[in-house]
């Protein structure tokens, strides 16, 4: 039963208020894309043991989507942030490297 901070309405939301939305920062591939790219966009997902970026919706709250960076093994939450971004913001990345020195999973540069 996670607690995540909703960056929109500013409350700490209990998991019962939230709806999960899978992996964050996917890039959409539409018409004209290669089969392999489109297939990866639809079906291929990271399944890291450790730091992960996820989409959540404050479904029984303000209704807004947001992103969470958390550890899949310890359930530690490094931070939540707006879903309206292509990459995790710098302060989230800093928070992760502070707790997980040398962390690298995907190049967000």
């Amino acid at each position: 039963m996670l607690i995540l901070h909703c960056p929109y309405c500013g409350t700490d939301a209990d998991e019962t208020e939230l709806a999960p939305g899978g992996e964050a920062h996917l890039k959409r591939f539409g018409p004209g894309s290669q089969d392999a790219d489109f297939e990866a966009y639809l079906f291929a997902r990271e399944n890291p043991m450790g730091v992960h970026f996820e989409r959540w919706r404050h479904a029984n709250g303000c209704g807004k989507w947001f992103h969470a960076a958390r550890c899949t093994t310890t359930l530690e939450v490094f931070g939540t942030y707006s879903a309206q971004t292509l990459d995790p913001p710098q302060e989230i990345r800093d928070a992760i490297t502070a707790k997980r020195p040398g962390w690298r999973w995907r190049d967000f540069a």
Binding site: I3, P31, W65, L75, E76
Partner: protein
């Protein structure tokens, strides 16, 4: 024979006698008894039969760890099986029966298993019941079903009710012994909000029974003072009969409070489930005494040494006149003293240690009790209860040196901290060599959202076993928990106790250590599931090395007590058999709840009418009063049909269809989803959402649209009306409104967040009525108001205006193939509008119609229904809906997916109509079989029925289905075998059965 002592019993109120019934016998106890203590006081040692061998079993423990004394409580609507007699407090009229025996507790046929136990070793169910295969149905399965399960499931509806409480607190402390109290007092002093819960009805735990001294006063006095102080503190919340059932991620905990189990009272909930969010959790859950594994350790009369003390001190019950104490540690010596002080005989203390010296041992010796060091119980004598023990050398193989007659045995194999709650959420354990137990590793606690530990243990739960150590640990943990929760007010002086000198315990896993197979077969590890030392050794011998596998193979620790007593003993036997260290073998996983909690408590208020909210349209009550036969649709109820006196459902549906086709029908369409999409980019957005082009729709016009998921599969459909340049109103299916609104929001918020679009779900703002049939226009003209002529309001247009006295938005759309107006009015005027239509329609014989008539009429027209023709694997192209898929648009959700190879495969099943040769109705979901068989020997299939009805209009069965190359096979006859083995022949036809030119709707 167990009996009540003449005096004592600190929980008893001897002035208040309590009548109860056990197996139909009327018995009497005192206020303050548990069912277990009252049974013992009445000489009822035998309380149940074991699961597998049906061996006679007595009470072993005094609390939540009890494996044997499980009873059926109550009758009919209050019946509940597998209730622990040790935690059930006695009340007047309590009705209990023993379980797992036939025909009676005293004489049980199942005990035959005991004599053939050689043939029922661990995993016997994997080794027997194999062949012949045919025997399964008639021989094996009936036997397995008859003997499976412990107790019987209740058959009646639960008479009681239950509730949930939600609380947030700084510190939740679980366990109200001296550790929990000491931690609470320090945490409260620091200024934290504290919730302290205790599973029994009494504060203080073991320390009071064991006669500890705290701050120079008897533990009982210190407990009383401390509880009073805590009760007076504003920031402390105390609950008894409240068990910490589970600890979950991020400080979530469940507390199970048994409100009226001890004193049933109608009008009060039976159980309450506290759903707690705590910043810090302290588990002060104490320790559980381990049994010793000697032959016959399951006979009624063999009890845990600590439990014997509890029964004497708390309930003035003696388990027998002569009790032999057998131990590997100092603690059991307290039992010898307690029995002696109560005036009972202790023929001997049998101590497996070769020698030990401590004050408590000296005290026992001074009391004149014989102590035998280096000795073991070779076996317990007796059939249905203890008659004596055979004394042997612990180091030997069990040759009996002497028989000591006794009627009870008090055993102690040492104490194991209750680490369950610590472990539920990932807290790690370390093996304590000196105490031979696992205890929490304070460096590896369960982690919270911030990555820091959020659970601590206090007192015996940490592995501290002396009063002084318990208090020091708990005091520190209480303070630390409050500080971690952000409170650091003043610190109180901690409670103190004298340091005790105890001789070290010595691990004893098998008694005597060299016992042969005959003895090992009678050494019980798991009492409830009948797992013996020999079973675990056999599992190891057969190659089971993982403790988790061994658990499942032998069923060790899988009973309702979840191995509270047997865990460490079983583990030790396994590690010994594997020649590995106990820490290397490890423990099985601890899972919540700590002890079983009721389903009622889990469900809470969510039952019957409060199970799920019911959505009601403005006309719901009218439907209810007018014969509605309800159908659930999402959270709504919709009339399936309206039954009149003496009418069957089928007759009602036929009448409604005929009346609508011939004259005038009304449908409550309020449940249809209505989502407003507004903004400069609304058209562009809907072009992405729908397969059709929506941006070109002219204001004032309607268009039927399809929505697909990004996977390309059809997800929803409905009519879109363009209100003005910036505004669209999207109709969705009744069940789909919330889902589609969420789907729109997801894309808007997470992909096209720079697009200027707002969406609002307006579903409940409007009542909507479909006025359908050849007389639809006439009835509206009769009511008067806006011009609804074909010229003023052509097919697939909409208009705002007045109908009679109502502000209305009228859509010329049709899902029935008839002339049809769907009219939306403000929700609060819905009923009045419905009434006005009924009144004006009376002269046309107006009738309301339900969802089944709607379904039949749409099927006659060949209109698809989401959920019938679509099932999440169907794309619009399968349904012949190419006309609704834009070829001009560069992109829409699902477009790219529909270009994938499998989606463009010409072998995909396609929508067709199906007409039975004999006019009958095809079975729903039936498959059309083709040539040959598949790998499983089943007929190959080439299509299936998606919708099937009797059409009153056509007077025959009609259906739609998906068939391989269907549209190219018009006229071909397919065979749809039913589950009844009958063949159903149907011809492939066009799916549009009625008015293919649309002359009826377009007038």
């Amino acid at each position: 024979m167990s009996t009540r002592l003449a005096s004592g019993g600190r929980h008893l109120d001897r002035s208040r006698s309590v009548d109860f019934s056990f197996n139909g016998k009327r018995l009497r106890g005192f206020q303050g008894d548990t069912l277990a203590s009252a049974l013992l006081a009445n000489g009822q040692m035998l309380v149940g039969r074991s699961f597998k061998y049906h061996r006679p079993r007595g009470i072993l423990a005094s609390g939540a760890e009890e494996p044997n004394a499980l009873v059926n409580m109550g009758k009919s609507g209050q019946f509940e099986p597998n209730q622990q007699a040790t935690t059930q407090q006695l009340f007047d009229g309590l009705y209990a029966t023993s379980q797992n025996h036939w025909p009676s507790l005293e004489f049980d046929i199942g005990v035959l298993n005991n004599y053939v136990s050689k043939f029922l070793p661990s995993g016997f169910y994997y080794k027997t019941f194999m062949a012949p295969r045919a025997a399964w149905k008639h021989v094996f399965e009936p036997i397995v079903r008859q003997s499976a399960g412990l107790g019987k499931a209740p058959k009646d509806r639960d008479d009681d009710f239950y509730e949930h409480f939600h609380v947030h607190t700084d510190v939740l402390i679980i366990g109200g012994g001296i550790a929990g109290l000491a931690a609470a007092r320090q945490a409260a002093a620091a200024g934290a909000q504290v919730m302290l819960v205790e599973q029994t009805a009494h504060w203080g735990g073991r320390a009071v029974v064991d006669g500890a001294e705290i701050d120079g006063m008897p533990a009982a006095d210190w407990v009383k003072n401390t509880v009073e102080d805590l009760e007076n503190a504003e920031n402390v919340h105390l609950r008894t009969r409240a068990m910490g059932a589970g600890v979950f991620d991020h400080g979530y905990a469940l507390v199970y409070e048994r409100l009226t189990d001890h004193a049933p009272e109608p009008g009060l909930p039976r159980h309450r489930l506290w759903r707690v969010r705590a910043k810090q959790i302290v588990t002060a859950t104490g320790a559980i005494e381990r049994p010793l594994s000697f032959a016959g350790n399951d006979l009624p009369g063999v009890m845990l040494a600590g439990a014997v003390r509890d029964y004497v001190a708390n309930w003035a019950v003696s388990p027998g006149d002569r009790t032999v104490v057998v131990t590997n540690n100092d603690d059991a010596y307290r039992t010898a003293l307690a029995l002696k002080q109560a005036g009972l005989e202790v023929p001997a203390v049998i101590d497996a240690r070769t020698h030990a010296q401590s004050p408590v041992i000296d005290a026992v010796r001074e009391a004149g009790i014989r102590i035998e060091f280096g000795r073991a119980v070779a076996k317990v004598k007796g059939r249905a209860r203890v008659e004596g023990v055979g004394l042997a050398t612990q180091a030997g193989e069990g040759a009996v040196l002497e028989e000591i007659s006794c009627d009870a045995v008090a055993m102690s194999g040492g104490w194991s901290p209750v680490v369950h709650l610590w472990s539920h959420c990932g807290g790690k354990l370390i093996w304590d060599e000196a105490q031979a137990h696992f205890r929490p590793d304070p460096d590896l606690p369960p982690l919270g959202a911030d990555g820091a530990g959020f659970v601590r243990t206090a007192g015996s739960a940490s592995g501290a076993l002396s009063t002084a150590d318990v208090l020091a640990d708990a005091d520190g943990q209480g303070r630390a928990a409050a500080m971690a929760a952000g409170h650091k007010k003043r610190k109180k002086a901690g409670p103190r106790a004298e340091t005790e000198i105890a001789a070290p315990m010595e691990p004893v896993w098998i008694m005597p250590q060299g016992a042969g197979p005959n003895l090992r077969q009678k050494m019980w590890l798991d009492y409830q599931n009948d797992v013996k030392v020999s079973d675990v050794q056999l599992a190891a011998h057969e190659g089971y090395e993982s403790v988790e596998h061994t658990k499942r193979y032998t069923t060790l620790g899988m009973a309702t007590d979840q191995g509270k007593l047997c865990n460490i003993n079983g583990l030790a036997v396994l590690s010994d058999a594997l020649n590995a260290g106990i820490p290397q073998v490890g423990t099985t996983t601890f899972r919540p709840p700590y002890t079983p909690i009721s389903f009622g408590a889990i469900a809470g208020e969510a039952r019957a009418e409060t199970f799920q909210p019911l959505r009601r349209t403005a006309m719901h009550d009218w439907h209810e009063k007018n014969g509605a036969y309800w159908e659930p649709v999402g959270h709504w109820r919709r009339p399936f049909c309206y039954q009149r006196d003496g009418e069957s459902i089928e007759q009602a549906v036929l009448r409604e269809v005929n009346n609508t086709r011939q004259s005038l029908g009304l449908l409550d369409a309020s449940t249809l989803g209505k989502i407003l999409v507004k903004g400069p980019d609304a058209g562009r957005f809907l072009d992405m959402m729908y397969t059709n082009m929506m941006s070109t729709l002219k204001p004032g016009r309607c268009r039927y649209g399809l929505m697909c998921s990004e996977n390309g599969f059809l997800s929803d459909d409905g009519v879109v009306a363009r209100i003005d340049d910036d505004t669209f109103l999207c109709h969705t299916t009744s069940g789909g409104a919330d889902r589609i609104h969420a789907h729109m929001e997801e894309w808007l918020q997470t992909e096209w967040w720079d697009w200027k679009v707002w969406t609002v779900n307006l579903t409940e703002q409007y009542a909507q009525v479909a006025v359908v049939g050849p007389k639809a226009r006439e009835v509206l003209e009769l009511i008067g108001g806006m011009d609804v002529s074909a010229e003023a309001l052509p097919f697939m247009t909409w208009k705002d205006g007045r109908i009679g006295d109502f502000n209305a938005r009228v859509y010329r759309i049709s899902f029935s193939g008839e002339l049809s107006f769907e009219i939306a009015v403000d929700a609060h005027r819905g009923q009045a509008f419905w009434d006005a239509l009924l009144e004006a329609g009376a002269e046309f014989g107006v009738m309301p119609y339900g969802t089944e008539a709607l379904h039949i009429m749409r099927a006659e027209k060949g209109f698809i229904m989401i959920g019938d023709e679509s099932d999440g694997t169907v794309i619009p192209q399968d349904l012949g809906l190419h006309w609704a898929i834009s070829k001009k648009k560069a992109d829409f959700l699902g477009k790219r997916a529909q270009e994938r190879a499998h989606m463009t495969d010409p072998d995909r099943w396609q929508l067709v109509g199906l007409e039975t040769l004999d006019g009958s109705v095809l079975p729903d979901g039936a498959y059309a079989v083709g040539e040959g068989e598949n790998a499983n020997g089943q007929r190959n299939v080439q299509g299936r029925v998606t919708s099937t009805y009797h059409s009153p209009t056509l007077g025959k069965g009609i259906a739609m289905g998906l068939v391989r190359h269907g549209p190219e096979r018009m006229g071909e006859v397919l065979d749809f075998p039913g589950t009844d083995g009958q063949s159903n022949k149907a011809r492939i036809v066009s799916p549009v059965f009625y008015d293919p030119e649309g002359e009826k709707q377009n007038v």
